[in-house]
């Protein structure tokens, strides 16, 4: 069946689904879903959207940090998926394929308005003595029970830190730590080797922890050392 014909069936389903009401679609396996999409099966279309739209929106919003951009990314991604499903070769899972399209689309948005600032890694990465010990004591601000306010503030700080992280790093952190993609799938989605992905992930995580720590150490009331638990 030609792409045009699939698209037509998808189209008719999208029109029909409005009146069909909110039936919760079954959850078919990837290959069934792909076959369904290729055949223009109406339920496969709604299934795909139901399964991925919220995740893709979350990822796009996380990378672009802007809801209008995230919406455009979602539109581009699913239009792409429906138009190109014939070309999906199944070398990666359907999810990874969609995540790759989405990551690329979202990163394009970010690159368009890149602030081209050098990241001051040295200021946020941990520092060590010559012997390799921590240069300064490390306070534990992770769960001071009285620091609910601090946790709220940390969310704001985290938002800014995520914004300051280059898009390529942000995408890695989001794919791994929010979407929960395994390392190899995240690497595949970003077109990176596994070691390159791991290096970027580690740096991104350290950056975010560093920025939160910076704030917590100056604004929080860290648990005095030696008395924790």
């Amino acid at each position: 069946m030609g792409i045009r014909q699939s698209a037509r069936r998808i189209l008719s389903r999208l029109t029909a689904s409005k009146s069909a009401g909110a039936q919760s679609p079954a959850v078919p396996a990837d290959d069934l879903l792909v076959a369904g999409l290729r055949a223009g099966d109406p339920e496969a279309v709604e299934s795909l959207l139901a399964r991925y739209e919220a995740r893709i929106y979350r990822l796009a919003l996380g990378i672009t940090r802007n809801s209008a951009d995230a919406e455009e990314v979602c539109q581009d991604v699913f239009l792409n998926v429906f138009r190109n499903i014939e070309g999906f070769e199944g070398k990666s899972s359907l999810g990874t394929w969609i995540y790759r399209i989405a990551t690329n689309a979202a990163l394009m948005k970010v690159r368009g308005k890149s602030r081209s600032l050098e990241v001051p890694w040295d200021e946020v990465l941990p520092r060590f003595s010559q012997e390799g010990s921590h240069l300064t004591p490390v306070p534990d601000w992770s769960k001071d029970p009285e620091a609910a306010l601090l946790q709220t503030e940390l969310r704001t700080v985290l938002g800014q830190a995520l914004e300051d992280l280059p898009g390529e790093y942000r995408a890695v952190v989001l794919l791994r730590d929010v979407e929960g993609l395994p390392t190899d799938e995240a690497a595949n989605a970003l077109g990176l080797t596994v070691p390159a992905l791991k290096a970027r992930l580690h740096r991104g995580r350290l950056f975010l922890r560093g920025r939160l720590g910076e704030y917590a150490e100056t604004h929080g009331r860290p648990t005095p050392k030696g008395t924790a638990e």
Binding site: I10, L11, E53, R58, L79, F128, S133, P139, R205
Partner: protein, 84 residues
């Protein structure tokens, strides 16, 4: 003997369960004797938890409707260009 620097370098692999069991055991041993690295690990994991929490924004319903509208009209345009 693992240093704090090596500990931090291996931290992502450690929390992701990607280390050789031998190395993971060495790290665990270092953690037992090092409050700084223990605090570092906790705040590292705490950061991951905050990131997860910060990113779990729901997709607004009206956006889902608009997405379907968009797809319908764009797939339609593709069709009318070629057949109508």
């Amino acid at each position: 003997m693992i240093t704090c620097r090596e500990m931090v370098d291996l931290l992502s692999d450690y929390v992701d369960g990607d280390l050789e069991p031998m190395v993971a055991r060495q790290l665990a041993a270092h953690l037992r004797g090092c409050t700084d690295c223990t605090a570092f690990l906790r705040t590292f994991k705490g950061t991951q938890a905050l990131v997860r929490e910060a990113a779990c924004e729901e997709m607004p319903e009206e956006l889902k409707v608009r997405l379907r509208d968009f797809l319908r009209s764009n797939l339609q345009r593709g069709r009318s260009r070629s057949t109508n």
